[in-house]
Symmetry: C2
Subunit: 104 residues, 2 copies
DNA sequence: GTAGGTCATCGATCTCTGTCAATATCGATT
DNA sequence: AATCGATATTGACAGAGATCGATGACCTAC
């Protein structure tokens, strides 16, 4: 996806292209609504949640939540499963781990 | 400073205030110029660099580099030491480690 | 097929921020 | 003190993105 198996940030100089990639990956996380989305989804009993259960605790409208979920989805941080009318999202920890590894 | 000794992101639900703090800390890192600055400074032989040695490899003007260094400084990611006319910057790894730990 | 509920997309607005030129500040040197 | 070089600050501008209302697409149930 984005930044798996990259050398840690401080180990060798970063060329411009890789810096752009890594910054883009971090930008996805650098938003309070998206951080809370990840945390909220993960803290659900089944580890998954649909959009309608996420708008109220965040205090954001449905289109805004959908937008953030799309960003998280494209970054590989969540996965989406359609079940009937509902779209269920769950956290994909691998991508988060990859980001963490790049920082140290 | 910002996010040391916080519980990992996916372990307990994030309240709005802490989400803001963590997002602000990540936003500092989520910029290609600042990532390259950290990497460049760290890769210097003495582990330190002055502004005049950083503008050329980044392809950015001196005020822009100064601006980014100030952001990194306020986030505790670098430290600054004035020596004569030159300002030397070096990476402070603790803050980076704290950020990494919050992600996993 | 009609109605109601769930989610995504579109378009607009507004704020934030990365960048630069110009200028100011400060130290060193003569 | 006068000048030169290094760095910081200011002000302006442009692009990015967070948010929302309105709308569209889709599924379910009656």
């Amino acid at each position: 996806m984005i930044a798996a198996a990259c050398p840690p940030l401080l180990e060798e100089p970063l060329d411009a292209e890789r810096a752009e990639e890594l910054a883009a990956a971090l930008k996805v996380l650098a938003d309070p609504a998206r951080l809370r989305l990840l945390s909220l989804i993960q803290s659900q009993p089944a580890g998954e949640a649909c959009v309608c259960h996420l708008t109220a605790p965040l205090g954001l409208r449905q289109p805004t939540v959908s937008h953030h979920l799309k960003v998280l989805l494209q970054a590989g941080l969540v996965e989406r499963e359609q079940r009937g009318s509902w779209a269920f999202f769950r956290v994909v920890p691998e991508q988060l781990r990859a980001l963490r590894d790049v920082l140290g």
